[in-house]
């Protein structure tokens, strides 16, 4: 399968971002790559955490909280490593709480609002299917730290995928109402799915050296899994004509600023606070 990216994204990439200017040697590329994966996990954790005390059931509250903590753990490891490789003295907290919107490199799908439970499950199904394929391969990275993070993460995202699968099957093949919501959730997130599998020179260069995984290679296995679940759940894969992109270059949706404001508020109000 393929995704058609919006051509209007071209002008957005012309701005020279600091992170791209320093991407001349391998270390800078690894920093950017670790930030992309780390920001994916961090923003996903923040969104997932918003379900706590608001999930359909107390049991689901805890389940989603667990997933959020898994993702936060991945984010911490990846951001810490990015800070180390960058060598500018920025730790995980500096990277999480004191970067601005344009410096975050997560794919946009992670920052989209949760919507209802159906939409949250739809997003989790697609993103975890992608992450399972990603971390399964990244486990064999020539970069020891990335490989170690991936080895730990793969078991976690495997469970996330299972959780999303169980709910997709029950909601999709459930009542008329649950099926409608599940399908609507898929329709809402689908214009942002393609970006997960978007490749660029940076990641191709790293992949060529066995350090990173080219997202382009993940489309087929990830979508094969998603399609098999959708079909079992009597749901249809949405047909969309345009795919949004830009997150890997710091271009975000209008929802990102609000998310960051909530996430970064305490750290910025009380810099250096410990507890």
């Amino acid at each position: 399968m393929s995704f058609n990216f919006a051509t209007d994204a071209a002008h957005l990439s012309s701005a020279s971002r600091p992170i791209e200017r320093v991407a001349s040697d391998n270390s800078a590329r690894v920093v950017t790559y670790a930030l992309r994966l780390g920001d994916d996990a961090l923003i996903a954790a923040q969104r997932m955490g918003q379900w706590i005390a608001a999930a359909p059931q107390l049991e689901e509250d805890v389940a989603l909280g667990n997933l959020a903590l898994d993702l936060l753990g991945q984010a911490r490891a990846l951001l810490t490593y990015a800070g180390q490789r960058e060598g500018a003295g920025r730790g995980e907290d500096a990277l999480a709480y004191f970067r601005d919107e344009r410096d975050f490199l997560n794919a946009q799908i992670f920052e989209l609002p949760n919507g209802d439970f159906g939409r949250t499950v739809a997003r989790l199904l697609v993103t975890s299917a992608y992450q399972v394929e990603l971390y399964t391969r990244l486990e064999h990275s020539a970069d020891e730290t990335l490989a170690a993070v991936a080895a730990k993460a793969v078991k976690e995202v495997d469970y996330h995928r299972d959780h999303a699968t169980q709910w997709t099957l029950r909601l999709g093949d459930g009542t008329t109402g649950s099926r409608q919501r599940m399908q609507a959730g898929l329709e809402a997130i689908w214009p942002h799915v393609g970006e997960l599998f978007e490749s660029d020179d940076l990641v191709r260069a790293l992949a060529g050296e066995g350090l990173a995984v080219d997202p382009d290679d993940l489309i087929e296995p990830s979508m094969a899994y998603v399609d098999s679940i959708l079909s079992e759940a009597t749901l249809a894969r949405p047909q969309v004509s345009v795919q949004h992109t830009g997150g890997r270059r710091g271009i975000h949706t209008e929802h990102m600023g609000y998310l960051l404001a909530e996430m970064q508020y305490v750290a910025r109000s009380h810099p250096g606070a410990q507890w």
């Binding site: 049991e59 805890v62 169980q166």
Partner: protein
Amino acid sequence: MTSGVGVPAGTPRNAYAQNAPQDLTAAGGHGAVPTSGVPTQDAPDAAARRDWPLWEVFVRAKRGLSHMHVGSLHAPDAQMALRNARDLYTRRQEGVSIWVVPAQLVTASSPDEKDAFFDPAGDKVYRHPTFYVVPDGVEHL
């Protein structure tokens, strides 16, 4: 309390509501918003939540030990119960195996039968292995 306004029975009504006409509806009864003949979203959630059955959870802490009852939870079916149990009761590596059992399938002894069931064992000390010398190094006896 009338149904359909999303307020649980027993919720204290405010002063305005107490003085308002008894046919007060969710929109406040001021007439600006039509409150009848409006298609409303059915709210199966509350009923669906109540319908989730209760499951008893048993966790085996490690190989060689038995499954122990650790608590209960709600889940729509057995597979989800197993997953909820994993998330609720094994977050801190408490177990290597989980059983879930529908709570309604548990047959329990009644408190009324307590005397007949349990008291007769009280004076039979010879049923305890207190008359044997336990060899050194034997655990879990």
